[in-house]
Amino acid sequence: MNKVIKLHLHDRYPELGKGPVPVEPYISTAYYDKEQARIFKKTWLHVGRVEEIPAAGDYFVKDLEACEASIIVVRDKQGAINAMHNVCSHRMNQIVYEKRGQARKFFCKFHGWAYDLQGNLTGVPEEGSFFDLDKCDHGLSRVACEVWQGFIFINLDPTPELSLAQFLQPMFGDIEGYPFDKITTGFQWTTVVNCNWKLALDAFQEAYHVAYVHGHSIADAIDTAEDGAMPPLDALCGQFHRRLSIAGNPKSVYGNPNAVTAGGAEASKAIADSAVKKPIAAAALRAGMGAASYHFRKEDLPKGMNWTGHENWLFDINVVFPDFYLSLRPNYFQAYNFRPISQGKTLLEARVYYPEMKTAGGRFYLEYMKVALRDVLLEDLSTLERTQSAVQTGVKKEMILQDYELLVRHGAHVVDRIVNEETKA
């Protein structure tokens, strides 16, 4: 609207510069080796939600190629969540073969060594035939494991430089209190994409692409300026993490998720406009109203959400360094991990969480929202392998970023800073 004074988000972060950004980090194996050693083996990594393992003995296993590790995450009898390497202390066999399950103890299938839910060695067949074996010295190798707002993080560094709270709170302390524990119906998709993990994450760190990649689907759900641009409301960059706040179009069902739980005027705005153009969307919203198990109110959200206080606020993108994308809406959230398998291969685990719906109509609404999101993801993913192939031609050495792609620049900057820190091994 106001073209007189153009303030750039970049002006707040002069250390990031405004120039072209090298693409070598997307294609260099030597660079990836350093990322593995200096980032993925040294940083808190998101592995799941506490609701996945509600009872003592519930566990899941994460294979983290980026760390060359397989990690068991388990809830013990005291209710604490522990993480340990999936490697027997005897002759190294993997203790757990299943990806998820329930155990009273872990028994190695090779020679029957037994471990409790904290990883202590509790049983050794033919123990008397070993030589001065002290079971206390031979538990499973524990891995740092902490929980923030119900998200489980692990850290392969035996002595993490920062606690999880110290790592997260400078950027995300004021979104603590978001009702994660009320949003407990989840869906997950997985795919292995043949591209570098940063290239995949970058496609989700800006809204500049929305008018093009999502031109057929949800572009109408994003708030547009007079010139058709979709500027973010604001962006924040920290030592590791970054945030972007996005406005929505309250006249669309997808762009006004608040309508289903707020009802009233919010819902009638979205239904009236959609009834003709998108009758299934309107039907889903009518079906979903009042079906949620919990009443969400924008004014109950923590102050760090919609931090500009915009009336058409739709969602905040939170990128938790290095590879965790957490998008928070008034009443649902998305959690994506872009986890490297190798330099040019990325495992995307994409999850979306909604409030539990008590009725068939509410379930229909969730399916509408979930399918719309999934198809949007298929659009987002459509460019990744093509972009990776294009980078690998070597024709272009740098990418050019506009102001609203600040998070892409910040992501590259933070990775590069840590990769090049000589003091770290």
Binding site: R49, E51, E52, R100, T184, T185, G186, F187, Q188, W189, T190, T191, V192, H216, S217, K277, K278, P279, I280, A281, A283, A284, R286, A287, R351, Y353, E356, M357, K358, T359, A360, G361, R363, F364, L366, E367, Y368, K370, V371, A372, R374, D375, L377, L378, E379, D380, L381, S382, L384
Partner: protein, 124 residues
């Protein structure tokens, strides 16, 4: 509770009495997202539109009827109708965004795998 009820063989599907007229579309009664997505992406667009038209004409009545049943304890005919309602959501982007069965220029749908056993998924 967490695993979807197995879909009935198509020949065995019955719909609740008030919705028997939707039987010609009972091949859309599919218990998982994986099956519904495959059906959408392998159907002719005209068939998708015909299914959508039939369902949309009755959608408010279907929702009102199914709201009378618990999601985790639906009898087979009601579950069969519920799966058709979820298929209507599945085809929504095809008819309301893309005007074709699949996502325009989209990533291959079969490579984006829905985890049908995810522990936090809903009962149906």
């Amino acid at each position: 509770m967490n695993s979807p009820q197995p879909a009935s063989p198509q020949s065995a599907i019955t719909l609740p009495a008030g919705f028997a007229h939707l039987m010609p579309f009972s091949h859309w009664s599919l218990a998982t997202e994986t099956e519904r997505t495959r059906m959408r992406n392998t159907s002719a667009f005209a068939d998708i539109v015909a299914f959508k038209d039939a369902m949309l004409a009755d959608v408010d009545a279907i929702v009102a009827y199914l709201n009378g049943f618990e999601l985790d304890a639906m009898p087979p005919p009601e579950a069969a109708l519920m799966y058709m309602l979820l298929s209507l959501a599945e085809v929504a982007p095809a008819v309301e965004a893309y005007q074709q069965p699949g996502v325009i220029d989209g990533y291959e749908f079969s490579r984006f795998v829905a985890d049908e056993k995810f522990v936090m998924r809903p009962p149906i």
